[in-house]
Symmetry: C2
Subunit: 204 residues, 2 copies
Amino acid sequence: MTKTEALTKGERTRQAVLDAAHQLFVEQGFAATSMRQIADRAGLALGGIYNHFPTKESIFSEVIMAYHPFHQVIPLLKDTPGDTFEVFVRNAAKSMVAELGRRPDFIKLMFVELVEFEGKNMPNMLQTVFPQVLPLVQRFTDRQDELRGIPPFTLFRSFLGLFFSYYMTEFLLVNMPANLFQKDSLDDFVDIYLHGVLAPKDVI
Amino acid sequence: MTKTEALTKGERTRQAVLDAAHQLFVEQGFAATSMRQIADRAGLALGGIYNHFPTKESIFSEVIMAYHPFHQVIPLLKDTPGDTFEVFVRNAAKSMVAELGRRPDFIKLMFVELVEFEGKNMPNMLQTVFPQVLPLVQRFTDRQDELRGIPPFTLFRSFLGLFFSYYMTEFLLVNMPANLFQKDSLDDFVDIYLHGVLAPKDVI
DNA sequence: AGAATAAGAACGAACGTTCGTTTTTATTTG
DNA sequence: CAAATAAAAACGAACGTTCGTTCTTATTCT
């Protein structure tokens, strides 16, 4: 076994600490999670953690950077040359919602960071991710001839907002007493967005 | 001064504790806020708090119930009989975003609750508020002849989602390094929503 | 006077971190 | 290939501090 592919013991426990911390931060938030809880769940003694991380905060900042899923979401929003804008939106929306559903922890972590570290100079998830996401605006700039002249960044922003909120409401309202909201209304959301931005003649 | 309109000393300090706790919970979250901080900001000694509240959690549950602004947002989304759907949406969107901007604490508090009390049986903001908000679906049911046959609850959900996300992105992205996103794009959001849901002939 | 409220010391539990030490792993030497 | 050595990692007790809560005593109201 070569050195590069095999994880050393230290690397494995370090990863176990990150995994345990990630779970606990998602479940309880940062302040409510103790180093002893992290140690217990990682199968490690309390003191052992400090061989790998200097502080509790350093664990958090590493967790939010390692677990944010944008680098997985972004490639899903690629535009295929032959496709119409409609197909692009339909695929992108579906991919985005599915990926968010696959990683509900991400949203929780974003909120934990927002609640407990706003104002403090921590490595910020959104600040870090924003430059990565920005090129996606180009997808909307490229297709402006099919659209109704709304500024590309607004198109991008409303796209993300609409489908992020689609996922969030599904996430939040699923346990509600009145179960009014219908499943599979993603198509309706896509429908609204497309009619909202496409030039009249191109409406399907 | 009559008994009903004048606040007794006890009632005033009780309110001061709630105010202080509210501020601190918004700034730091629940777990990171200490009873001593609350006492200090309320201008009260630590022990004095316990003459008014039995536990720290009881303060939180009272805060989130007292400060959630739905009862103020909801009346703003009233439908005026003579208005077109377009006018209704335009006013409702503007009122909602403005009211959220007037009370950014509300969102912070919602996240605090979501992060630190999910799963625990606390008085839940959304659970409590949902029944109050539900009648608003009627606004969309009433206007279905003007619209494109999308289920009313989906209309409602996408409306709230789109304009909530408009506010949130403004809230989050305002300090971003690249200042790409243009101000005053609420009209564009309204435009997208209206084109998204109105029947073709009615599109302005 | 008497009830309500404020004050702040006191409590034990829990916090994040450090410590000296032991145990495990990796590297060097013979 | 072992034995010796160095380095890394694990341990759990202990540190000083802070936590939420309780208690006792003083003060303020009506």
